[in-house]
């Protein structure tokens, strides 16, 4: 019953995500949706739908099937729309080697073998592992189906499914209203104000689907969102400001630039160590200075706000050089003649920035957004491990830190893998959202 229902939903989602303007598109959408659902359900061993499974698991199973149907549909569509443009520039029309068919495969085989064995295989294994009860170092394996997932969420399946869906529907509705309303009308203006906050509304709705009781995942979710988004926003804004400043030609600028960029080469653990020193409550310079002025510097080992702030500052400090480097490279692509023309026309610095500099920096900013997000999701592990180890009271335990704590320190591979899957879906969702945001605004080169 549920298997049939999930495949029907998957097919519908596949059509929605792939397109429905021609019969062929609808058929491909159905196939892709079903394929997506089949892939994830096979990885899970169809366990959500056995007769003694709990209702929550059935609902989660359908939701996962729909998610993968959407990923397959939208992913394939993206691939097809990119195919023509992308291969056109990278493909060689003349001068290709005309040798045996196996030549290119021979050249590609080392890369492909490593990607298959050390990326695709572990990705698949993460899904199969996530339904198991298995401990590090013991061969025994128990079946848990989706209990590893339902533990992370609140017990009410209606909340888990409906809340994010309502948020998405609201955002879609606002977007639709915006497109249909007259430019200049109050509805148009109102929706234009609301639209940029769509992602915040969605993130806020997700906050309520995670379990809150006894050490639930909600705190981890909150930590991850707060710490990651702060790191990305602050380091990108500061990086751009610094790039603007050092783009000018003053004496010694090459040396300045090198000095400002090279903290990029410093590791996240070392960044953690340096900030551990500065913010230390007994020997650190800030505590000593605060003492001299007669007040107490809070201890980040007990003050959760300061603990988060220290992690954010250490990560921003480490990322800044990287962002500066890429923004400097990006500023060179800003068309100078347009800037001069705009200046002659009386555009002020802010107008010039918005209409000329920002579009030119688009691809670089997009690239940096993705790399910075990856950093703030994963590389922050080293910084946290040397600074706070997730303390106080779990206030700095972000998703990757919790995943290792559960999967390795507690040796609970199955639960750790379930958290990996959640993180995986988050990465895919964020990437898809970024691509959607940048659609039509950024022109790509052949990259």
């Amino acid at each position: 019953m549920l298997v049939a229902a999930s495949f029907l939903i998957a097919a519908a989602v596949g059509v929605l995500s792939f397109g429905h303007s021609t019969k062929r598109e609808v058929a491909s959408g159905v196939v892709l949706g079903a394929l997506g659902a089949a892939t994830i359900l096979a990885a899970l061993g169809f366990c959500p739908f056995v007769s003694d499974a709990e209702s929550t698991e059935g609902v989660l199973g359908v939701a996962l099937a729909a998610t993968f149907a959407w990923m397959f549909g939208a992913g394939t569509k993206a691939v097809f729309s990119q195919k023509a443009a992308d291969l056109g520039s990278g493909d060689i029309r003349t001068g290709a080697f005309k040798l045996g068919w196996w030549w290119p495969w021979l050249l590609l085989s080392p890369t492909l073998v490593i990607l298959v064995f050390f990326l695709y295989l572990p990705a698949y294994r993460t899904f199969t592992l996530s339904t198991k009860l298995t401990r590090l170092g013991t061969p025994r394996v128990g079946e848990r189906c989706l209990s590893n997932f339902s533990e992370l969420l609140v017990t009410n399946p209606a909340v888990v499914i409906m809340l994010p869906l309502t948020a998405v529907a609201f955002i879609w509705g606002v977007g639709m209203w915006h497109r249909r309303s007259e430019p200049g009308s109050w509805g148009h203006n109102l929706t234009r104000t609301i639209r940029p906050f769509g992602i915040l509304i969605f993130l806020y709705s997700l906050y309520f689907i995670f379990e809150n009781e006894n050490g639930g995942y909600r705190l981890i979710y909150l930590n991850t969102v707060v710490i990651s988004s702060s790191i990305v926003i602050v380091s990108m804004v500061a990086g751009l400001a610094l790039a603007y400043l050092t783009f000018q030609n003053v004496r010694g600028i090459t040396v300045y630039r090198t000095l400002l960029i090279w903290p990029y080469a410093i590791s996240p653990p070392v960044a953690g160590i340096l900030f551990f020193m500065m913010f230390n409550a007994t020997g650190g310079i800030f505590a000593a200075l605060a003492n001299d002025f007669g007040f107490d510097f809070p201890n980040y080992a007990t003050n959760s706000t300061l603990a988060r702030l220290t992690i954010i500052l250490a990560s921003v400090w480490k990322l800044l050089g990287y962002n500066l480097l890429f923004f400097l490279a990006g500023l060179q692509t800003v068309p100078r003649d347009q800037i001069e023309a705009a200046a002659l026309d009386g555009a002020n610095a802010i107008q010039r920035f918005r209409s000329i500099v920002m579009p030119a920096l688009g691809p670089i900013a997009f690239f940096l957004l993705i790399t910075n997000l990856t950093f703030s999701f994963f590389d922050v592990y080293g910084t946290i491990d040397f600074l706070t180890k997730g303390a106080p009271a779990g206030a700095t335990s972000v998703a990757i830190y919790e995943l290792i704590r559960v999967g390795v320190d507690n040796g609970d591979l199955g639960r750790g893998a379930a958290q990996s899957v959640v993180l995986f879906l988050a990465v895919i969702g964020l990437t898809a959202w970024q691509f959607k945001q940048s659609e039509g605004r950024i022109s790509y080169g052949s990259a």
Binding site: I92, G95, A123, Y244, V270, I273, V427
Partner: protein
Amino acid sequence: MAARDGGGLSLNVGKPGLLRGRRWPTHVLIWGSMLIILFPLAYAALVSTQTNAEVFRFQLTPGSGLGKHFDQVWNDRNLGRLMWNSFVQAFLITGAKTVLSLLAGLAFVYFSFRGKWLVFFFVLITLMMPTEVMILALFRIVADLGWRNSMAGLVVPFAASATGAFLFRQHFANLPRDLSEASQIDGATPLQFLFKILIPLSWNVIGALAVIQFVFVWNMYLWPVLIISDRDQQVVQVGLQGLATLDTGLTFGPLMLAALLVSIPPAIVFIALQKPFMSGFALTADK
């Protein structure tokens, strides 16, 4: 890079702005940001010379503990050995990634074959698959291969790079087309073409990739924590663990000294390869 022609590219034009025509505010702002950004390093350097008593006295001059700290870190904790391990790992991964990416770029640009775009997206999609989200499963696979506590476990899973393959693909695609025609007329094989023609034209891209990969591997932390448990096989970032509690209670000096020592090799690589690094990026950003 804008190093030489930065003046012509300054974005301040038109009416005298905040920074136009007056150089000293720019200098002040740049020096201010340098003070803030370099302060953690300078402070660590100061503390690395101080004994605990001197740290707690909040002394602003170099202290007397540097020799002892170096002895503790270098001889007792064997930091040199760990740095060598990190260096071997970084060297092997950087080399493997460069070679494999060059081969993949060659296949993508100078061959036409069935299913090319499928392979291309098969590689492209891995950019969306960070190792960290599948690290538990990867750990199991590598452990099953018997590669725990070995250099193979540190190197092989990271020997291929989608980023590198795309970087070279893009670079090769922008080289003049008649290069490959000419060398085919000369009867060169694809590998001869790669080594004699393409690589000499790609040093900037190779240098840029090498800096990024070397720094990436040198700074790797989570994977070595999982896969290496034998202290002699460990890499240097993980070797920083436990340095804060060498004596009874907190010890700041040795930890700061070790943190600074660990940061020297990537800094050397960055400064030595700065020119190709910068121009390699200016190149990719231009497209």
